[in-house]
C-alpha cells in the first residue's frame, strides 16, 4: 500500500502544515475581507467585492491618527528599551558585580507576569501619584515591558561573542572607545537589531497594558478594540493586510540581501 506508507512517512509534515494553515487562516480572512462591502456596521459577513476601502484607507474618523500615534510610541519605546536593555546586557555578560541574582530576577519577572497584573499595578502607581494618563504613561509602560526582551536578545548575542577579538583589537593599539565602536558594537549589532525589532512589534501591538494606562489617548489596538463594540470599518482590514505585506516584504528583502552578500564573500 504505497499511499498508506507515504502518508505514514509524511504524517508529521502534514500535521505541521495544517498547524501552519491554522496560524495563517485569520490573515487570509483579514485580507479577503479588506475587499468586502459590508451591509451593516460590522465587517464579519461577506457581501460583495469592492476596493473602496483600499482607495480611502484613512476614511474612518480617528483611525489614521491612532495609527500614527502607535507608530510614534513604538518608535520611542523601541529606542528607549534598546538603549537601556543593551547597556544591561553588556553589564550582565562582561562584568562581575554584586546582587547579580537579584538583577537577573528583576529582568526575568516582567516576562513571567501576566500583562493584566502589570497593567493594573502600574495604573495604581499612576493614580497614587496623580499622574496625567496619556502619551507619557503609555510610553513609560512600553519601555518597561520591552526592556527585558531586549536584554534577553542582546545577551544571547554578546555571550556567543569571542572575547579574543576584542583583545586582538587592543593588541593592535585600539583604545577602549575604538575597540567598542569598531569591534564590539558591529558584532553585537544583529542581537541589538533583533531586540529592537521585537520591542517595536511588542509595543506597536500592545493592548492590555495600554488600555489600562492610556486614559483617553487612543492607540491603534485601542481603536480596533473600540470598533469591535461600535462597528468594524473595512479600513481596519486594509491596515492589517498592509502591515502583513510590509512585514513579509521587509523580511524577504533582508534575506535576499544577506544571501547575496554571503555569496559575494564565498
Amino acid at each position: 500500500m504505497p499511499f498508506v506508507n507515504w502518508f505514514r512517512r509524511n504524517l508529521v509534515v502534514i500535521a505541521g502544515l495544517l498547524t501552519l494553515g491554522y496560524l495563517l487562516l485569520p490573515n487570509v480572512v483579514v485580507t479577503v475581507f479588506s475587499f468586502n462591502k459590508p451591509k451593516g456596521r460590522f465587517n464579519y459577513q461577506w457581501q460583495q467585492f469592492s476596493t473602496e476601502a483600499w482607495k480611502d484607507p484613512c476614511g474612518v474618523a480617528g483611525m489614521c491618527g491612532s495609527l500614527s500615534l502607535s507608530l510614534q510610541i513604538a518608535f520611542w519605546a523601541t529606542l528607549g528599551a534598546t538603549v537601556l536593555g543593551t547597556m544591561i546586557a553588556f553589564a550582565l555578560v562582561r562584568y562581575r558585580f554584586r546582587a547579580r541574582g537579584a538583577v537577573n530576577s528583576l529582568i526575568f519577572l516582567p516576562m513571567a507576569m501576566p500583562e493584566v497584573v502589570m497593567a493594573a499595578s502600574l495604573l495604581t502607581l499612576f493614580l497614587n501619584l496623580g499622574a496625567q494618563l496619556g502619551f507619557w504613561t503609555v510610553l513609560i509602560a512600553h519601555i518597561m515591558f520591552c526592556l527585558s526582551f531586549v536584554v534577553t536578545a542582546v545577551k544571547a548575542r554578546v555571550m556567543s561573542m569571542d572575547p579574543r577579538l576584542e583583545q586582538a583589537a587592543q593588541d593592535l593599539y585600539a583604545g577602549p572607545a575604538q575597540t567598542f565602536l569598531r569591534v564590539t558594537l558591529p558584532i553585537a549589532a544583529p542581537g541589538i537589531a533583533a531586540g529592537a525589532l521585537l520591542a517595536f512589534a511588542l509595543s506597536f501591538d500592545d493592548f492590555i497594558i495600554t488600555n489600562f494606562n492610556a486614559g483617553s489617548t487612543v492607540t491603534f489596538p485601542m481603536f480596533v478594540w473600540g470598533s469591535a463594540q461600535r462597528g468594524t470599518p473595512v479600513q481596519i482590514n486594509v491596515i492589517g493586510t498592509a502591515m502583513f505585506l510590509v512585514a513579509v516584504l521587509f523580511v524577504l528583502t533582508s534575506m535576499v540581501i544577506s544571501n547575496r552578500r554571503n555569496r559575494q564573500k564565498a
Binding site: 508529521v12 505541521g16 498547524t19 501552519l20 496560524l23 495563517l24 487562516l25 485569520p26 490573515n27 480572512v29 483579514v30 475581507f33 459577513q45 537601556l84 536593555g85 547597556m87 544591561i88 553589564a91 562582561r94 562584568y95 562581575r96 558585580f97 528583576l106 526575568f108 516576562m111 507576569m113 501576566p114 493584566v116 497584573v117 502589570m118 493594573a120 499595578s121 495604581t124 502607581l125 497614587n128 513609560i140 518597561m144 526592556l147 527585558s148 536584554v151 569571542d162 572575547p163 579574543r164 576584542e166 583583545q167 577602549p176 501591538d205 493592548f207 492590555i208 488600555n211 489600562f212 468594524t232 481596519i236 491596515i239 492589517g240 502591515m243 502583513f244 513579509v248 523580511v251 534575506m255
Partner: protein, 309 residues
C-alpha cells in the same frame, strides 16, 4: 583515549582568556545597569507594592482610600470570583495543551523536514505578529460565524452535538462558547510555543536519530526516547510562554466569548476601569500574580530546567 591520527581538539579558550581583563573603573557595570534597573524598579517593582497596599485599603472614590489592613477584601474577592479564576486556569491549560499538540509537528517540520523551505515557513510563523492581534482575533468571528462553513461542517458531522454534551459549545453555535475562547487563545499563543520548541529541536544532533535507528528503534520509539526528552527545555519554556499570558488574557474571552466565559482578566479589567473598585481589583490581580508565580516555580522545579533565561 586520544590517538595521534585524531585531529587535535579545537583550542578552547582558557578561563583567563574567556573573561576579558577587567577594564578600568570597577563602577562601570553599575553605571551600565543603573538607568535600566531604575526604570524596572520604579515602573515594575514599585507598582507591585502600591498594588499590594491598595488591596488592603478601604474607602470610596469620593472620600479617598486609606490603608486599613482590610484583608477581608481578599476573601470576598475569592468567594465571589472563584469561578472566573477556575475558568482562567482551565481555559489556559486547555489552550497550552492544544498549542503543544498542534505546535510540536510544526516545530519538528521546520527543524528536520523543511529543507530549503525552512526560512519561508519561519517567516510565515512570525509574520502574523505584524498584523495587530486584535484584528486577527476578530477574524475568528468571521471564521466561526453561525452561518459559516466551519460551523456548517461541524453540524453536519454532529461534532457540535458531542461538544455541546461536554459543555464546550451551546446548541449549534461555536461563537460565544468556551470552545471559541480556547480556540482563540490557542491561536494567539501558538507562535510562543512553536519558536522555543523549534530552538531546542534544532539543537539536537541529527546523528542521534541515526544512532537510534541503527539500534533498531522504530521511529515512534526514537521520538519517545530521544527526540522528545531532548526537546524538554523547549517544551517547558513553550508551555510557560503560553500558559502565563493565556491565564491573564481577557481579549479572547471578551471578543469570542459571552458573559458565561468571562475569565479573571475580564473581572480585573471591569473592576479597575469601569466599576472603579480599586481594592477588589488590586486584590484579584495580586492573587493572580501569586498563583502564577507559585505554579511557575513549582513547574520549573519539577521539570528541572532552572536556566530558562
Amino acid at each position: 583515549m586520544a590517538t595521534l591520527t585524531e585531529a587535535p581538539p579545537p583550542l578552547a579558550p582558557t578561563a583567563a582568556e574567556k573573561k576579558p581583563p577587567r577594564k578600568r573603573g570597577r563602577w562601570t557595570p553599575y553605571w551600565l545597569l543603573l538607568p535600566g534597573l531604575l526604570w524596572l524598579l520604579v515602573f515594575f517593582a514599585l507598582p507591585m507594592i502600591y498594588q499590594a497596599s491598595t488591596s488592603v485599603q478601604t474607602g470610596s472614590l469620593e472620600e479617598g482610600y486609606k490603608v486599613t489592613w482590610h484583608f477581608a477584601t481578599y476573601w470576598d474577592a475569592l468567594s465571589e470570583y472563584w469561578p472566573q479564576f477556575l475558568r482562567s486556569v482551565l481555559y489556559a491549560a486547555s489552550a497550552t495543551v492544544l498549542c503543544l499538540v498542534l505546535g510540536y509537528p510544526l516545530a519538528y517540520l521546520i527543524a528536520f523536514r523543511a529543507g530549503r523551505w525552512r526560512n519561508l515557513i519561519m517567516i510565515l510563523v512570525i509574520a502574523p505578529f505584524f498584523t495587530s492581534f486584535l484584528i486577527r482575533t476578530l477574524a475568528w468571528k468571521t471564521i466561526l460565524a453561525d452561518s459559516g462553513p466551519v460551523v456548517g461542517v461541524l453540524n453536519t458531522l454532529h461534532v457540535l452535538d458531542v461538544t455541546s454534551w461536554l459543555g464546550w459549545t451551546a446548541g449549534d453555535r461555536v461563537l460565544a462558547t468556551p470552545l471559541a475562547v480556547v480556540c482563540g487563545l490557542t491561536y494567539n499563543f501558538l507562535p510562543f510555543m512553536v519558536l522555543p520548541l523549534y530552538t531546542s529541536l534544532e539543537r539536537i544532533d541529527g546523528r542521534l536519530h541515526e544512532a537510534a535507528g541503527d539500534l533498531y528503534a522504530r521511529p515512534i520509539t526514537t521520538f519517545r526516547k530521544v527526540t522528545f526528552p531532548l526537546s524538554m527545555p523547549g517544551v517547558v519554556s513553550g508551555t510557560l510562554l503560553t500558559f502565563i499570558p493565556a491565564a491573564g488574557d481577557y481579549v479572547n474571552a471578551e471578543l469570542l466569548g459571552s458573559t458565561d466565559t468571562r475569565m479573571i482578566g475580564n473581572v480585573i479589567q471591569t473592576q479597575f476601569l469601569r466599576v472603579l473598585d480599586y481594592p477588589t481589583a488590586a486584590a484579584l490581580s495580586f492573587i493572580l500574580m501569586a498563583a502564577i508565580l507559585f505554579m511557575v516555580t513549582f513547574y520549573i522545579r519539577r521539570s528541572g530546567t532552572e536556566d530558562l533565561v
